[in-house]
Symmetry: C2
Subunit: 206 residues, 2 copies
Protein backbone atom coordinates (compact mmCIF):
# COMPACT_ATOMS: atom_id res chain seq x y z
CA UNK A 1 0.00 0.00 0.00
CA UNK A 2 0.81 3.63 -0.24
CA UNK A 3 4.13 3.25 -1.96
CA UNK A 4 4.31 6.96 -2.73
CA UNK A 5 4.09 8.32 0.75
CA UNK A 6 3.86 6.91 4.26
CA UNK A 7 7.57 6.76 4.97
CA UNK A 8 8.12 10.14 3.37
CA UNK A 9 5.31 11.69 5.31
CA UNK A 10 6.66 10.22 8.51
CA UNK A 11 10.10 11.68 7.93
CA UNK A 12 8.70 15.06 7.00
CA UNK A 13 6.58 15.15 10.11
CA UNK A 14 9.65 14.23 12.11
CA UNK A 15 11.57 17.09 10.49
CA UNK A 16 8.84 19.49 11.54
CA UNK A 17 8.41 18.32 15.11
CA UNK A 18 12.09 17.72 15.87
CA UNK A 19 12.78 21.17 14.47
CA UNK A 20 10.15 22.83 16.59
CA UNK A 21 10.37 21.01 19.91
CA UNK A 22 13.78 19.41 19.83
CA UNK A 23 14.86 15.79 19.59
CA UNK A 24 14.59 14.51 23.14
CA UNK A 25 11.41 16.40 23.93
CA UNK A 26 9.61 14.99 20.90
CA UNK A 27 8.25 11.51 21.51
CA UNK A 28 7.65 8.80 18.96
CA UNK A 29 3.95 8.80 19.76
CA UNK A 30 3.63 12.50 18.99
CA UNK A 31 5.19 12.04 15.57
CA UNK A 32 3.07 9.00 14.78
CA UNK A 33 -0.13 10.73 15.78
CA UNK A 34 0.70 13.89 13.82
CA UNK A 35 1.68 11.88 10.76
CA UNK A 36 -1.24 9.48 11.03
CA UNK A 37 1.08 6.51 10.68
CA UNK A 38 1.05 3.22 12.54
CA UNK A 39 3.65 2.41 15.12
CA UNK A 40 4.92 -0.71 13.41
CA UNK A 41 5.29 1.11 10.12
CA UNK A 42 7.91 3.27 11.75
CA UNK A 43 9.81 0.29 13.08
CA UNK A 44 9.58 -1.45 9.71
CA UNK A 45 11.50 1.43 8.17
CA UNK A 46 13.75 2.44 11.04
CA UNK A 47 15.53 0.44 13.68
CA UNK A 48 15.14 3.07 16.38
CA UNK A 49 14.27 6.67 17.18
CA UNK A 50 17.90 7.61 16.61
CA UNK A 51 17.65 6.32 13.05
CA UNK A 52 14.53 8.38 12.51
CA UNK A 53 16.39 11.41 13.80
CA UNK A 54 19.18 10.75 11.32
CA UNK A 55 16.71 10.27 8.48
CA UNK A 56 14.92 13.47 9.41
CA UNK A 57 18.16 15.42 9.45
CA UNK A 58 19.27 13.98 6.13
CA UNK A 59 15.95 15.07 4.70
CA UNK A 60 16.28 18.50 6.23
CA UNK A 61 19.79 18.85 4.87
CA UNK A 62 18.61 18.08 1.37
CA UNK A 63 15.50 20.25 1.67
CA UNK A 64 17.34 23.23 3.12
CA UNK A 65 20.30 23.20 0.77
CA UNK A 66 18.11 22.90 -2.30
CA UNK A 67 15.92 25.76 -1.11
CA UNK A 68 18.89 27.86 -0.06
CA UNK A 69 20.82 27.52 -3.30
CA UNK A 70 17.85 27.80 -5.64
CA UNK A 71 16.54 30.88 -3.88
CA UNK A 72 19.93 32.51 -4.17
CA UNK A 73 20.18 31.57 -7.83
CA UNK A 74 16.77 33.07 -8.45
CA UNK A 75 18.18 36.47 -7.49
CA UNK A 76 20.26 36.09 -10.61
CA UNK A 77 23.17 38.39 -9.84
CA UNK A 78 26.90 37.97 -10.13
CA UNK A 79 28.69 35.57 -7.77
CA UNK A 80 29.56 38.49 -5.53
CA UNK A 81 25.96 39.60 -5.49
CA UNK A 82 24.88 36.07 -4.72
CA UNK A 83 27.11 35.98 -1.70
CA UNK A 84 25.31 39.06 -0.47
CA UNK A 85 21.93 37.71 -1.55
CA UNK A 86 22.47 34.74 0.74
CA UNK A 87 21.74 37.03 3.66
CA UNK A 88 18.46 38.14 2.13
CA UNK A 89 17.56 34.48 1.81
CA UNK A 90 18.37 33.94 5.47
CA UNK A 91 16.14 36.91 6.23
CA UNK A 92 13.28 35.23 4.41
CA UNK A 93 13.88 32.16 6.51
CA UNK A 94 13.90 34.11 9.77
CA UNK A 95 10.66 35.86 8.85
CA UNK A 96 8.87 32.53 8.67
CA UNK A 97 7.80 33.03 5.08
CA UNK A 98 9.88 30.11 3.85
CA UNK A 99 9.10 26.43 4.48
CA UNK A 100 5.32 26.48 4.34
CA UNK A 101 5.05 29.32 6.80
CA UNK A 102 6.40 27.31 9.71
CA UNK A 103 7.79 29.67 12.33
CA UNK A 104 11.56 30.00 12.39
CA UNK A 105 13.03 27.99 15.24
CA UNK A 106 16.71 28.19 14.43
CA UNK A 107 18.92 25.86 12.43
CA UNK A 108 18.08 22.22 13.09
CA UNK A 109 21.74 21.29 12.80
CA UNK A 110 22.96 23.82 15.31
CA UNK A 111 20.12 22.68 17.54
CA UNK A 112 21.12 19.06 16.99
CA UNK A 113 24.66 19.65 18.24
CA UNK A 114 23.13 21.28 21.30
CA UNK A 115 21.39 18.03 22.16
CA UNK A 116 24.15 15.72 20.95
CA UNK A 117 27.32 17.38 22.11
CA UNK A 118 29.66 14.45 21.55
CA UNK A 119 31.53 15.11 18.33
CA UNK A 120 31.59 11.40 17.50
CA UNK A 121 27.85 10.99 17.65
CA UNK A 122 26.34 10.32 14.20
CA UNK A 123 23.85 13.14 14.69
CA UNK A 124 26.60 15.62 15.51
CA UNK A 125 28.65 14.44 12.56
CA UNK A 126 25.70 14.83 10.24
CA UNK A 127 25.30 18.40 11.44
CA UNK A 128 28.96 19.10 10.79
CA UNK A 129 28.65 17.60 7.32
CA UNK A 130 25.68 19.85 6.55
CA UNK A 131 27.71 22.92 7.44
CA UNK A 132 30.59 21.61 5.37
CA UNK A 133 28.37 21.32 2.31
CA UNK A 134 27.07 24.85 2.71
CA UNK A 135 30.61 26.07 3.13
CA UNK A 136 31.57 24.30 -0.08
CA UNK A 137 28.87 26.16 -1.96
CA UNK A 138 30.00 29.47 -0.52
CA UNK A 139 33.56 28.63 -1.52
CA UNK A 140 32.40 28.15 -5.08
CA UNK A 141 30.72 31.55 -5.07
CA UNK A 142 33.72 33.19 -3.44
CA UNK A 143 36.00 31.68 -6.00
CA UNK A 144 33.80 32.76 -8.90
CA UNK A 145 33.60 36.21 -7.41
CA UNK A 146 37.36 36.47 -7.75
CA UNK A 147 38.17 36.56 -4.07
CA UNK A 148 41.86 36.72 -3.22
CA UNK A 149 41.42 33.90 -0.69
CA UNK A 150 38.15 32.10 -1.50
CA UNK A 151 38.49 29.70 1.43
CA UNK A 152 38.90 32.50 3.92
CA UNK A 153 36.06 34.54 2.44
CA UNK A 154 33.67 31.60 2.36
CA UNK A 155 34.59 30.77 5.94
CA UNK A 156 33.88 34.36 6.99
CA UNK A 157 30.54 34.45 5.21
CA UNK A 158 29.63 31.18 6.86
CA UNK A 159 30.50 32.56 10.26
CA UNK A 160 28.32 35.59 9.58
CA UNK A 161 25.50 33.26 8.59
CA UNK A 162 25.77 31.37 11.86
CA UNK A 163 25.92 34.60 13.80
CA UNK A 164 22.78 35.95 12.20
CA UNK A 165 20.92 32.66 12.65
CA UNK A 166 21.67 32.58 16.36
CA UNK A 167 20.96 36.27 16.84
CA UNK A 168 17.58 35.85 15.18
CA UNK A 169 16.85 32.71 17.16
CA UNK A 170 17.83 33.80 20.65
CA UNK A 171 17.04 37.51 20.58
CA UNK A 172 14.30 37.46 17.96
CA UNK A 173 16.24 40.14 16.12
CA UNK A 174 14.37 40.77 12.88
CA UNK A 175 17.28 42.58 11.29
CA UNK A 176 19.95 39.98 12.03
CA UNK A 177 20.33 39.04 8.39
CA UNK A 178 20.56 42.60 7.08
CA UNK A 179 23.08 43.55 9.74
CA UNK A 180 25.22 40.57 8.88
CA UNK A 181 24.96 41.48 5.23
CA UNK A 182 26.55 44.85 5.86
CA UNK A 183 29.44 43.20 7.64
CA UNK A 184 29.77 40.79 4.73
CA UNK A 185 30.01 43.71 2.36
CA UNK A 186 32.93 45.08 4.31
CA UNK A 187 34.63 41.71 4.42
CA UNK A 188 34.21 41.23 0.68
CA UNK A 189 35.75 44.61 -0.05
CA UNK A 190 38.67 43.52 2.07
CA UNK A 191 38.95 40.48 -0.20
CA UNK A 192 39.24 42.67 -3.26
CA UNK A 193 35.68 42.26 -4.47
CA UNK A 194 33.66 45.14 -5.82
CA UNK A 195 30.39 45.29 -3.93
CA UNK A 196 29.55 48.94 -4.40
CA UNK A 197 25.87 49.75 -4.29
CA UNK A 198 26.15 51.24 -7.80
CA UNK A 199 27.18 47.93 -9.29
CA UNK A 200 24.14 46.35 -7.68
CA UNK A 201 21.77 49.01 -8.87
CA UNK A 202 23.09 48.85 -12.40
CA UNK A 203 22.85 45.09 -12.32
CA UNK A 204 19.25 45.33 -11.16
CA UNK A 205 18.53 47.82 -13.91
CA UNK A 206 19.68 45.43 -16.62
Amino acid sequence: MARPSKKEHLVETAVKLFGRDGFHATGIDTILKEAGVARMTLYKHFRSKDELILAALRRRDEQFRIWFKSTIEKSGGSPAERLLASFDVLGEWFSGRAFAGLPFTGCSFINATAEFSEANHPVHQLAAEHKRLILEYLRLLASSAGARDPDALAWSISLLHEGSIVTAQVSGDIHAAQGAKEIARTVMIQHGIDVSVESQVSAAAC
Copy 2:
Protein backbone atom coordinates in the same frame (compact mmCIF):
# COMPACT_ATOMS: atom_id res chain seq x y z
CA MET B 1 24.32 20.67 57.92
CA ALA B 2 25.67 21.87 54.67
CA ARG B 3 27.68 25.01 55.05
CA PRO B 4 28.98 24.46 51.52
CA SER B 5 25.27 24.62 50.79
CA LYS B 6 23.70 21.59 49.23
CA LYS B 7 21.56 23.88 47.17
CA GLU B 8 24.57 25.55 45.62
CA HIS B 9 26.18 22.25 44.81
CA LEU B 10 22.95 21.01 43.30
CA VAL B 11 22.67 24.03 41.03
CA GLU B 12 26.27 23.80 39.96
CA THR B 13 25.89 20.14 39.11
CA ALA B 14 22.80 21.04 37.14
CA VAL B 15 24.75 23.69 35.24
CA LYS B 16 27.34 21.11 34.31
CA LEU B 17 24.99 18.31 33.26
CA PHE B 18 22.43 20.49 31.50
CA GLY B 19 25.29 22.13 29.65
CA ARG B 20 26.79 18.84 28.58
CA ASP B 21 23.75 16.67 27.80
CA GLY B 22 20.96 19.18 27.32
CA PHE B 23 17.89 19.94 29.37
CA HIS B 24 15.39 17.31 28.35
CA ALA B 25 17.94 14.51 28.13
CA THR B 26 19.19 15.14 31.64
CA GLY B 27 16.98 13.57 34.27
CA ILE B 28 16.50 14.70 37.83
CA ASP B 29 17.89 11.43 39.10
CA THR B 30 21.13 11.86 37.19
CA ILE B 31 21.68 15.27 38.71
CA LEU B 32 20.82 14.05 42.21
CA LYS B 33 23.18 11.10 41.95
CA GLU B 34 26.04 13.19 40.55
CA ALA B 35 25.55 15.84 43.22
CA GLY B 36 25.06 13.32 46.01
CA VAL B 37 21.89 15.04 47.12
CA ALA B 38 18.60 13.58 48.20
CA ARG B 39 15.51 13.85 46.10
CA MET B 40 13.50 15.75 48.65
CA THR B 41 16.26 18.30 49.08
CA LEU B 42 15.77 19.33 45.51
CA TYR B 43 12.02 19.71 45.90
CA LYS B 44 12.51 21.66 49.12
CA HIS B 45 14.40 24.29 47.15
CA PHE B 46 12.67 24.14 43.78
CA ARG B 47 9.10 23.62 42.81
CA SER B 48 9.91 21.68 39.65
CA LYS B 49 12.59 20.69 37.19
CA ASP B 50 11.82 23.80 35.17
CA GLU B 51 12.68 25.93 38.17
CA LEU B 52 15.95 24.09 38.56
CA ILE B 53 16.68 24.75 34.91
CA LEU B 54 16.03 28.44 35.45
CA ALA B 55 18.20 28.50 38.56
CA ALA B 56 21.00 26.72 36.71
CA LEU B 57 20.83 29.19 33.84
CA ARG B 58 20.81 32.16 36.19
CA ARG B 59 23.89 30.73 37.86
CA ARG B 60 25.53 30.13 34.50
CA ASP B 61 24.74 33.65 33.38
CA GLU B 62 26.40 35.10 36.46
CA GLN B 63 29.36 32.73 36.28
CA PHE B 64 29.98 33.26 32.60
CA ARG B 65 29.65 37.03 32.55
CA ILE B 66 31.93 37.47 35.52
CA TRP B 67 34.52 35.20 33.95
CA PHE B 68 34.16 36.79 30.55
CA LYS B 69 34.50 40.37 31.70
CA SER B 70 37.24 39.77 34.23
CA THR B 71 39.32 37.78 31.79
CA ILE B 72 39.01 40.57 29.24
CA GLU B 73 39.93 43.17 31.83
CA LYS B 74 42.98 41.16 32.78
CA SER B 75 44.35 41.72 29.29
CA GLY B 76 44.56 45.34 30.31
CA GLY B 77 44.47 47.07 26.95
CA SER B 78 42.49 50.01 25.65
CA PRO B 79 38.74 49.62 25.07
CA ALA B 80 39.42 48.89 21.42
CA GLU B 81 41.96 46.26 22.35
CA ARG B 82 39.51 44.76 24.80
CA LEU B 83 36.93 44.36 22.10
CA LEU B 84 39.50 42.37 20.18
CA ALA B 85 40.65 40.53 23.30
CA SER B 86 37.10 39.24 23.75
CA PHE B 87 37.77 36.86 20.89
CA ASP B 88 40.91 35.52 22.57
CA VAL B 89 38.80 34.89 25.64
CA LEU B 90 36.27 33.00 23.55
CA GLY B 91 39.18 30.98 22.17
CA GLU B 92 40.18 30.01 25.69
CA TRP B 93 36.63 28.89 26.29
CA PHE B 94 36.52 26.81 23.11
CA SER B 95 39.80 25.13 23.98
CA GLY B 96 38.29 23.75 27.17
CA ARG B 97 40.88 25.40 29.39
CA ALA B 98 38.31 27.61 31.07
CA PHE B 99 35.67 26.43 33.56
CA ALA B 100 37.59 23.73 35.39
CA GLY B 101 38.65 22.02 32.20
CA LEU B 102 35.14 20.96 31.27
CA PRO B 103 34.98 20.34 27.53
CA PHE B 104 33.37 23.09 25.48
CA THR B 105 29.82 22.16 24.52
CA GLY B 106 28.60 25.43 23.11
CA CYS B 107 26.76 28.28 24.77
CA SER B 108 24.17 27.03 27.25
CA PHE B 109 21.85 29.87 26.31
CA ILE B 110 21.93 29.23 22.61
CA ASN B 111 21.41 25.57 23.44
CA ALA B 112 18.52 26.49 25.72
CA THR B 113 16.66 28.28 22.94
CA ALA B 114 17.14 25.18 20.81
CA GLU B 115 15.18 23.15 23.34
CA PHE B 116 12.71 25.89 24.28
CA SER B 117 11.86 27.55 21.01
CA GLU B 118 8.84 29.48 22.22
CA ALA B 119 9.94 33.07 22.69
CA ASN B 120 7.57 33.48 25.64
CA HIS B 121 9.01 30.60 27.61
CA PRO B 122 10.88 31.77 30.73
CA VAL B 123 13.93 29.74 29.72
CA HIS B 124 14.04 31.36 26.29
CA GLN B 125 13.57 34.80 27.80
CA LEU B 126 16.38 34.19 30.26
CA ALA B 127 18.64 33.27 27.35
CA ALA B 128 17.69 36.45 25.51
CA GLU B 129 18.38 38.47 28.65
CA HIS B 130 21.84 36.92 28.97
CA LYS B 131 22.70 37.97 25.45
CA ARG B 132 21.33 41.42 26.14
CA LEU B 133 23.62 41.83 29.12
CA ILE B 134 26.67 40.80 27.13
CA LEU B 135 25.65 43.20 24.39
CA GLU B 136 25.41 45.96 26.96
CA TYR B 137 28.97 45.35 28.05
CA LEU B 138 30.17 45.38 24.46
CA ARG B 139 28.31 48.63 23.92
CA LEU B 140 30.21 50.15 26.81
CA LEU B 141 33.52 49.08 25.31
CA ALA B 142 32.50 50.27 21.85
CA SER B 143 31.51 53.61 23.26
CA SER B 144 34.74 53.99 25.22
CA ALA B 145 36.67 53.01 22.11
CA GLY B 146 35.19 56.01 20.36
CA ALA B 147 33.13 54.14 17.83
CA ARG B 148 31.06 56.30 15.50
CA ASP B 149 28.02 54.12 16.18
CA PRO B 150 28.65 52.18 19.40
CA ASP B 151 25.33 50.34 19.20
CA ALA B 152 26.01 49.08 15.71
CA LEU B 153 29.59 48.09 16.50
CA ALA B 154 28.60 46.23 19.66
CA TRP B 155 25.88 44.46 17.75
CA SER B 156 28.35 43.41 15.07
CA ILE B 157 30.88 42.16 17.58
CA SER B 158 28.13 40.19 19.31
CA LEU B 159 27.12 38.63 16.02
CA LEU B 160 30.72 37.63 15.39
CA HIS B 161 30.83 36.11 18.87
CA GLU B 162 27.78 34.00 18.15
CA GLY B 163 29.17 32.97 14.80
CA SER B 164 32.44 31.80 16.29
CA ILE B 165 30.69 29.96 19.13
CA VAL B 166 28.51 28.01 16.72
CA THR B 167 31.35 27.35 14.30
CA ALA B 168 33.47 25.96 17.12
CA GLN B 169 30.56 23.92 18.45
CA VAL B 170 29.25 22.37 15.27
CA SER B 171 32.39 22.01 13.19
CA GLY B 172 34.94 21.75 15.98
CA ASP B 173 36.82 24.56 14.34
CA ILE B 174 39.72 25.40 16.63
CA HIS B 175 40.41 28.70 14.93
CA ALA B 176 36.86 30.02 15.00
CA ALA B 177 37.70 32.73 17.51
CA GLN B 178 40.83 33.96 15.76
CA GLY B 179 39.07 34.09 12.41
CA ALA B 180 36.22 36.08 13.89
CA LYS B 181 38.75 38.40 15.48
CA GLU B 182 40.17 39.32 12.10
CA ILE B 183 36.71 40.16 10.84
CA ALA B 184 36.14 42.23 13.96
CA ARG B 185 39.30 44.17 13.22
CA THR B 186 37.97 45.06 9.80
CA VAL B 187 34.62 46.08 11.21
CA MET B 188 36.24 48.26 13.86
CA ILE B 189 38.32 50.05 11.26
CA GLN B 190 35.10 50.72 9.41
CA HIS B 191 33.80 52.31 12.61
CA GLY B 192 36.72 54.68 12.73
CA ILE B 193 38.71 52.87 15.39
CA ASP B 194 42.44 52.45 15.14
CA VAL B 195 43.26 48.78 15.52
CA SER B 196 46.53 48.66 13.66
CA VAL B 197 48.89 45.96 14.79
CA GLU B 198 51.47 48.63 15.59
CA SER B 199 49.22 50.25 18.15
CA GLN B 200 48.79 46.88 19.80
CA VAL B 201 52.47 46.08 19.76
CA SER B 202 53.35 49.45 21.18
CA ALA B 203 50.67 49.08 23.80
CA ALA B 204 52.04 45.70 24.72
CA ALA B 205 55.54 47.15 24.90
CA CYS B 206 54.51 49.76 27.46
